[in-house]
């Protein structure tokens, strides 16, 4: 353990004194405060905060990712190429201990730098409302929609298979089925149509979403929604009547023990809006309903797009969420450190850097890449799905677990989600990389061939 620690400390010194880390450090130390002033977003306090946190964390994350790749590769390959490893590996240190020491050093450096920068981002974020003398309304909005961590009640999936089947049979009977499209695609198309129909409210019609086992809340909940309309209203605004409360009352009109929220709001179309609902509306039995009525005044059909409605409640603080987001970045850095160490055990510095940067960018866009395979024609798609897709799925999906995705809309990044992500990214994928690295390094010849 002592020798692992010695190598780790030496690696940190190397990173700092060879000025590799110093460049990144200074860059971030300058950029972060500048961003704190320059990021304005949509002009509101919430927008400003969202922009800053999003840019600040993304920048920190990407720079630390690059730094991790560079340091982990540099510190191993330079030892081999400049042959300091001759004097190190001939001391009573096993080869795996040497690599673990390097890894520990890189991860420790990451922890230090990440703590430093996230502390800066956090401090700037927390003090932004005071610094910019935000109005009371802006502060309330920021507190409700940014300085919190909200979880969403799961919108129950609507089962439309019966309708789809009927519609299909109907089309088949009337011989209206298009012939150049496969059965699967027709069904997918019909399902999308039917689901859209379920989310559309005709004039005067009521849409109801029901939720089971809702825990009693101590803080207000929020409905976040977006209206799409068939016909644009003159002022681009529509009225909506919202009911939230005991399912029994809303559905059947029975007596409710808890109060029921019932108000009409006017909102612009095609924008996200939120309405705050007091916590008391949640009934004891946890069977909650949210209903929307398209007020006849509107004169148009109102449609909720697929991600157009969410029921949110505060479940944790901003601080907790921020810490977990930072941990998510750390998991990513640990994975990259293992990747860098692996590459450096059998490749020279430039090649290893290129490989790792390629893999890193692939992992960063993996969601997009995987999705794009879906649009390939069947034959080529098959080739891809047996080769590259398989490799991509071995990589972690950095874009799927992007911390800003949670912090900007103040969505809860739960411990369980974090644990799952860490388990896959670090405990399985990074660990495998490390094992391969240790095996390669234990059996390779350290010395260069010189005759």
């Amino acid at each position: 353990m002592g020798s692992i620690w010695a190598v780790a400390i030496n690696t940190i010194k190397q990173a700092l004194r060879m000025k590799v880390a110093a460049v990144f450090l200074i860059l971030l130390l300058v950029l972060l405060p500048v961003m704190g002033f320059s990021a304005t977003g949509d002009g509101t306090l919430k927008g400003r905060l969202q922009t800053f946190v999003s840019y600040g964390l993304s920048l920190t994350s990407i720079l630390l990712c690059l730094l991790t790749i560079i340091i982990s590769i540099y510190s191993v390959t330079s030892d081999i190429e400049q042959r300091q490893i001759y004097t190190v590996i001939t001391k009573p240190i096993r080869r795996f201990q040497f690599l673990l020491g390097k890894l520990l050093g890189v991860v420790l450096l990451d922890v230090i730098l990440l703590s430093l920068f996230s502390a800066i981002i956090y401090t700037i974020t927390i003090y932004t409302p005071q610094f910019f003398n935000a109005t009371e309304i802006e502060r309330i909005q920021a507190n409700n929609e940014f300085f919190t961590a909200r979880a969403a009640l799961a919108i129950p999936a609507v089962d439309v298979s019966q309708e789809v089947k009927e519609r299909y049979e109907q089309l088949e009977r009337s011989r209206e089925l298009p012939e150049d499209i496969s059965y699967k695609e027709i069904i997918a198309e019909l399902t999308a149509q039917q689901q859209l129909a379920k989310r559309a409210a005709d004039i005067g019609q009521v849409l109801v979403w029901e939720f089971n086992n809702v825990e009693p809340l101590d803080q207000s909940m929020f409905i976040k929604f977006k209206y799409d309309v068939a016909v644009n209203p003159p002022d681009m605004q529509v009225y909506g009547r919202w009911f939230v409360g005991d399912y029994q009352y809303i559905k059947y009109g029975t007596q409710s023990k808890t109060p029921v929220y019932d108000r009409i709001h006017k909102h612009s179309v095609r924008d996200f809006h939120e309405i705050e609902i007091p916590a008391e509306v949640v009934p004891e039995h946890g069977h909650l309903a949210v209903a929307f009525q398209n007020v006849p005044l509107n004169n148009t059909v109102i449609i909720f797009p697929p991600d157009g409605i969410e029921v949110l409640y505060k479940s944790d603080t901003f601080t907790g969420n921020f810490v977990r987001a930072v941990l998510l970045i750390l998991a990513r850095l640990i994975f990259l450190a293992c990747l860098g160490i692996l590459a450096s055990t059998f490749l020279s510095f430039p090649v290893a850097i290129l490989l790792c940067l390629f893999l890193f960018s692939t992992a960063s866009f993996s969601g997009f890449v995987i999705e794009s395979f879906g649009y390939l024609s069947v034959n080529i798609g098959k080739i891809y799905s047996y080769t590259i897709k398989w490799i991509i799925q071995l990589l972690p999906q950095f874009d799927k677990f992007n911390p800003t995705k949670f912090l900007v809309p103040a969505r809860l990044l739960s411990w369980s989600l974090l644990a799952r992500c860490v388990a896959v990214m670090v405990c399985i994928k990074a660990f495998l990389l490390l094992v391969v690295a240790l095996i390669i390094f234990s059996y390779r010849e350290i010395a260069k061939i010189t005759v």
Binding site: N10, K13, Y86, T87
Partner: protein, 417 residues
Amino acid sequence: MEYAVETFSLTKIFSDWWGRAKVYAVDDLNLQVRYNEVFGLLGPNGSGKTTTLKMLLGLLHPTKGRALILGGDGTDSKVNSRIGFLPEESYLYRYLNARETLDFYGRLFGLPPKVRKMRIEALLDMVGLKAVANRPIGTFSKGMARRIGLAQALINDPDLLILDEPTTGLDPIGTRQIKDLILKLAERGKTVLLCSHLLADVEDVCDRIAILYGGKIQNQGQVRDLLQQTNKRQITTDAISDTAIEKIKQLIQDEDADCVVTSPMEKLETFFIKTVAAAQQQLQTISGAVSTTKIGGFLAPEAATENILDKLVSTPVSQESLPESPTTEKVVPVESPTPEPDEELLSKLTGSAELSQPEPVFRDEKVTTQPAESEAPQAEQEQIDKSILEKLTGRSRPQGQDEEQTDKSQAGDTGDG
């Protein structure tokens, strides 16, 4: 375990990417290094010396055969903890300073902090880099880096010291010092495996040598056996009169042998050290506090060496034996009244005690029976070195002597205990 290092048909073949164009870097090498000997591995460039060492240490895998080092494998941690290794160049971390470097290597050996600190200071003292211990190694000259390289090889008090070209990049004074150090270590029961193409170095310190060419041992054996010209005799005298020489010549001719009379040449090494010493003393009278301490630091290896070694070696070889050894009596000290262990060691090394006449060498005449190879008697020259070293350190001698004495008494104490 009979041998400290033993190889069994050790072979290393380098092939190209396709597995063709084979080069036999080391070919069926059977090497035996006994415990407590200084073994020299000689050979021209590319003869496989370094490749052999790398295979011993597990940095390269042998294509065929096997290498045992201290009875185990070169990659075994237990074996590694008893080895000190100085590679052909000092591959050190440029961004660490001298003290941090030694601390890093000390940690790799798992030395407890107290021991580590003590040894680092002692080693820095020994290699004469205490004054620059806080400077990054990247700013060191090659010789300074070499010194630190040597210090890191000694930090674990190794039983076996493997030195690859230990004197490259060192000035003659540093070379001298390393050679003295190697002898001292051997004195203390260490085994030294030395690999060099600088023949003078090897000749001065090694008990046995092997000459490698094309990855094969061409010749090996005791240095004395290999080099001594048993069919010749050499006599060194004071500057005697021509008539005396004529008499001697007559005597020799009576024996039916030829003889050549010359004044012995001084070795360049000796001359260099003398010149530097003179310059050093001049400087001292003018100013030069910096350079004084620096050179003084490594020109007084005696005290420092004793120091570190006594500290490093848990059960030191009895110090008392040194002054009492028979050779010492024959050596008449040039200036110092105290017997010099170094001098005595060197004369012992040359193995020809009868030749090491005590007379001051500057006035020597050399009489070589039969046409002489310009092989000057080593002992004399070492004696000059000694006298010069003495002169140099004379300035600080009282202190040095004190140190030496205290060291010896310490060593004696531990020996008794």
